[in-house]
C-alpha cells in the first residue's frame, strides 16, 4: 500500500463527503489479492461466505465487458453504478462519458473503498464535476445524494448499472437503491406531467391573476414573521372528523392552515383558519370549496393557481412565485417574491409555507395519507370509499401495523419525509391519530399537541392585519398598462422571428446533405431571440422554459460519438420543434396579454369616469 496515495484519496474523499473512510479499514472484511494477470482483486467475507468482487483472472477484461453493455445514452444521462470495487470498470466507464454526464457510484462496503484508495489515485475522479461516491447502506443519506443529481430535466434519462455480483451480495440495499430511484422517478414524473398538462392553464391563470398579483402581497411579507409559533396543517384525511373539533382550543395560540377542501369542515365547527392555502391550477381547486369560495380569510397561493379561486375570493392574497414565472413576476411587480418547494399537495405546500413563516412546531391533522377505514377523505370533506381499482401500496402505519396507501399519496408522503430531512431544526408532530407513519414526526393526539405547544396568545390575527395594511399598494393601472403593451410588442417580434425560423428549419428537413452552414444560418434566429431574452425578463421567462424543455428532450440531446450528419439532422429537428413551440406560445400568450389590456382599459375608464363624476 502506498501510504501517501491512500492518504491523498482519504483526504479528498473526506473533503467531498465528510466521511472518513480510514475509520472502516480496521474492521474491514475486504482483503486484496493479486490476480493471475498481476492486478488486484478484492475478496470479502460476507455472511460467512467468501466472495470475489472482481475476476481473479482478468479484472481489466471484466471492466471492458462492463462498458460493452452501454447503449442509448447521451451527454446528460445520469449514471448510477452499484458497486465501486477497486474501480477498474469505473475507469473504463469514464472513457465513454461526457464531462456533462453525472456519475453516482454506490459502494455499500466502506472497507472495499478503502482498498480501492490504497491502490490507485482516485483524486481526479473525486474532483470530477457531477460525481459522487456514496458509501454505506443508509437509504436516507442516499436519498439526499440522489436528490442532488436527479431532477425534472433528467428523470427520464437515468441508467442504473449494477456491477459484478453487488446486486446479489448486497441485495437488500440494492432493492432500496431501486426503490429510491423509482421514487424520484415517480416524484418528478408527476411534477413534469403536471407542468405539461397545466402549461396552458398556468399561462391563462397567470394573466387572469395578473391584476391581483400586481396589487396584492408577496409571500415575502410573511417571511419569518411567526417565529416559533405552532402551526396546524389541516388535511382532509379520514381521521380528520375524529379530532377536528379540538382545533377550537388553538384560538390565537397557533396558526391554522386550511386547504380548500377542509375549509367547509372547519367553518361547520366554527373554527376560523388564519390562512387558506390553494395550489391547484385546475378548476378542481374551486370545486372543493365553491360553497365558501367567497371567504375573506387570507389566501396563500401561487401566481399560477386557479384563477376562479382567486377571482371569487374576497380577502387578501399572499402570492408565492413560480420558478418558470419568476421573470414575469419581477417584470410586472418589481418586488421580491420567493419560490417555495411546494410538493404536490396542499399539505406539502402548507408545510413549506409554515416553515417559511418561521413556525415551530408543525402539527399535522387529517394527514392520513392512507385509506383509514377504507376511506379516501373524511366524511365531512366529501369522503369516498376505497374502490376495487385503486392501486394499493402497503406502508407502515403510525402504530407500526401495515396500512394501505396509493401511489399519489405515497408521493406526498415521500415528499414530506424528504422535506423533514432537509429541514431538521424543527419539530414535526403527526396529530392525525391514524394513517401512514410520516418518518421524522413525533406522534401524539391533537389534544396533547395543543396542550403541550399552545401555551400563549401569539396575537396572530393582529400581526396578519398589520402586515396586510403595511403592504398595501396604491392605484397604478397606467403602469400595468405600459408593461403589458411593452410585453405585447416584444412578443410580436418573437413570433415573427420564430415563424421564419420554423419555415427555414422545416425546409431543411427535406434537403439532402445539410451541413454546418445550414446550422449557422438557423442559429441566427436563436441569436435574435437571445437578444430579446436579454432585454426583457418576461420574454426570457416565456422563451427559456421552452428552450429548456427542448434541450432536456432526449431526442435533441447530443449523442455520444455522433457523426457530423447525425448532428446536423438532430439540430435541424431541434430547431423545427423549438421554433414551432415558440411561435405558438408567443401567439397564445399575446392573446392573453391583449385580454388583460382590454379588461384593464375597461377598469381605467370606469375609474376615470368615477373621478370626473366626483
Amino acid at each position: 500500500m502506498s501510504y501517501s496515495l491512500y492518504e491523498k484519496n482519504i483526504q479528498e474523499y473526506m473533503k467531498r463527503t465528510g466521511k472518513n473512510i480510514r475509520a472502516y479499514e480496521k474492521n474491514s472484511n475486504a482483503v486484496l489479492e493479486k490476480t493471475k494477470d498481476n492486478y488486484y482483486t478484492v475478496k470479502i467475507n460476507e455472511s460467512g461466505r467468501e466472495v470475489y468482487i472482481h475476476s481473479k483472472y482478468s479484472p481489466i477484461k471484466e471492466a471492458e465487458r462492463f462498458v460493452e453493455k452501454l447503449e442509448d445514452y447521451n451527454i446528460k444521462t445520469v449514471f448510477i453504478v452499484y458497486g465501486m470495487g477497486l474501480g477498474y470498470h469505473i475507469l473504463e466507464l469514464i472513457k465513454y462519458l461526457h464531462k456533462e454526464n453525472p456519475l453516482i457510484i454506490i459502494e455499500p462496503n466502506e472497507g472495499v473503498l478503502s482498498k480501492a484508495f490504497s491502490i490507485y489515485d482516485w483524486t481526479p475522479l473525486l474532483r470530477r464535476d457531477k460525481t459522487y461516491i456514496f458509501t454505506g447502506t443508509n437509504a436516507n443519506a442516499l436519498k439526499l445524494v440522489l436528490g442532488e443529481f436527479i431532477d425534472i430535466s433528467n428523470v427520464e434519462n437515468l441508467m442504473l448499472l449494477p456491477f459484478s455480483q453487488y446486486h446479489k451480495i448486497y441485495s437488500v440495499f440494492y432493492e432500496k437503491v431501486i426503490e429510491e430511484v423509482k421514487n424520484y422517478f415517480s416524484l418528478f414524473k408527476i411534477s413534469k406531467n403536471t407542468k405539461e398538462h397545466f402549461w396552458e392553464q398556468f399561462n391563462k391563470n397567470f394573466f387572469n391573476n395578473l391584476h391581483s398579483i400586481f396589487y396584492q402581497r408577496s409571500i415575502n411579507d410573511l417571511k419569518n414573521q411567526f417565529k416559533n409559533v405552532p402551526a396546524f396543517i389541516v388535511s382532509a384525511g379520514p381521521s380528520l372528523d375524529k379530532n377536528v373539533k379540538e382545533l377550537k382550543n388553538v384560538k390565537d395560540k397557533g396558526i391554522i392552515f386550511s386547504g380548500g377542501r377542509t375549509l367547509p369542515t372547519l367553518l361547520n365547527h366554527n373554527i376560523e383558519p388564519h390562512f387558506v392555502v390553494s395550489m391547484d391550477p385546475g378548476i378542481a381547486a374551486y370545486h372543493v370549496l365553491k360553497d365558501c369560495a367567497d371567504h375573506k380569510f387570507p389566501l396563500i397561493t401561487t401566481v399560477v393557481s386557479n384563477d376562479t379561486v382567486i377571482s371569487e375570493h374576497q380577502g387578501d392574497v399572499f402570492y408565492i412565485s413560480n420558478s418558470e414565472y419568476r421573470g414575469l413576476v419581477q417584470y410586472f411587480t418589481q418586488r421580491d417574491m420567493d419560490i417555495l418547494p411546494l410538493g404536490a399537495s396542499v399539505a406539502n405546500a402548507s408545510l413549506a409555507i409554515a416553515v417559511y413563516l418561521g413556525c415551530n412546531p408543525i402539527i399535522f391533522l387529517g394527514q392520513d395519507l392512507a385509506y383509514t377505514d377504507g376511506k379516501h377523505h373524511a366524511d365531512s370533506c366529501g369522503g369516498t370509499t376505497l374502490k376495487e381499482d385503486d392501486d394499493l401500496i402497503e406502508v407502515e402505519g403510525i402504530d407500526g401495523n401495515k396500512v394501505f396507501t396509493n401511489s399519489v399519496w405515497h408521493t406526498f408522503l415521500m415528499w414530506m419525509e424528504k422535506f423533514i430531512i432537509h429541514n431538521p431544526n424543527k419539530t414535526y408532530i403527526d396529530a392525525t391519530e391514524g394513517g401512514a407513519k410520516i418518518h421524522g414526526t413525533d406522534i401524539m393526539t391533537l389534544r396533547q399537541a395543543i396542550e403541550k405547544y399552545c401555551l400563549k396568545n401569539e396575537f396572530i390575527q393582529d400581526k396578519i392585519n398589520t402586515i396586510i395594511k403595511a403592504k398595501k399598494i396604491g392605484y397604478q393601472d397606467e403602469k400595468l398598462q405600459r408593461l403589458l403593451m411593452n410585453l405585447k410588442v416584444d412578443l410580436e417580434k418573437v413570433h415573427k422571428i420564430s415563424s421564419q425560423g420554423f419555415k427555414e428549419a422545416h425546409q431543411l428537413l427535406n434537403k439532402e446533405n445539410t451541413d454546418e452552414k445550414d446550422i449557422r444560418r438557423l442559429n441566427l434566429f436563436e441569436t435574435q431571440l437571445n437578444d430579446l431574452i436579454k432585454r426583457n425578463e418576461a420574454v426570457a421567462d416565456i422563451l427559456l422554459r421552452i428552450i429548456n424543455d427542448i434541450d432536456t428532450n432526449n431526442e435533441f440531446i447530443e449523442k455520444m460519438n455522433e457523426s457530423k450528419e447525425e448532428k446536423c439532422r438532430r439540430l435541424i429537428n431541434r430547431n423545427v420543434a423549438l421554433h414551432k413551440k415558440i411561435e405558438d406560445t408567443a401567439f397564445n400568450i399575446n392573446k392573453l396579454v391583449q385580454s388583460v389590456i382590454d379588461q384593464d382599459i375597461e377598469i381605467i375608464k370606469i375609474f376615470q369616469c368615477s373621478i370626473s363624476f366626483v
Binding site: 461466505r49 467468501e50 470475489y52 472482481h54 481473479k56 483472472y57 455480483q165 446486486h167 446479489k168
Partner: protein, 118 residues
C-alpha cells in the same frame, strides 16, 4: 463392429459433444456477466453432468486416442468450482468456467479431433 471401430465412434461423438459443451460454457459465462445468474446456474448443472460423461468416455477410449487426453487436469478446476458454488460466488464460478474449464475442454476437443482426422 470391432472394439476399435466402436471406440472411434465414441470419439466422434465426443468431438461433437465437447463442441456443444464449449458453446454451453460460453453461454454460461455470458449469463454470469450479464447478471442472469439463474440461467447461468442452470447451465452449470448441465455442464458438470456433461463433463462427467465426457471424462468417462475419454477414459474408456484412451487407447484409441492419437494424443491421449489427461482428464485428471480438470480435477483442480472442478475443486475450485465446488468452492465457488459453496460460497455462491458468481464471479468465481464465471472465472473458473472461463479461465480454467473452457481452455481444458477446448484442448480436449482439439486432441480428440486429431484422432478422428487420422
Amino acid at each position: 463392429m470391432n472394439q476399435r471401430a466402436e471406440k472411434m465412434e465414441v470419439i466422434q461423438t465426443l468431438v461433437e459433444y465437447t463442441g456443444r459443451l464449449i458453446n454451453g460454457i460460453n453461454e454460461a459465462v455470458d449469463s454470469f456477466h450479464e447478471g442472469m445468474e439463474g440461467k447461468g446456474m442452470d447451465l452449470v448443472v448441465q455442464i458438470i453432468d456433461g463433463l462427467k460423461w465426457t471424462m468417462e468416455a475419454i477414459t474408456l477410449t484412451l487407447d484409441a486416442q492419437v494424443e491421449p487426453v489427461d482428464v485428471s487436469e480438470i480435477i483442480e478446476p472442478l475443486n475450485a468450482m465446488i468452492e465457488a458454488l459453496e460460497n455462491i460466488d458468481y464471479v468465481l464460478i464465471g472465472d473458473v468456467l472461463e479461465y480454467e474449464i473452457l481452455p481444458k475442454v477446448e484442448e480436449w476437443n482439439q486432441k480428440l479431433n486429431l484422432t478422428i482426422g487420422e
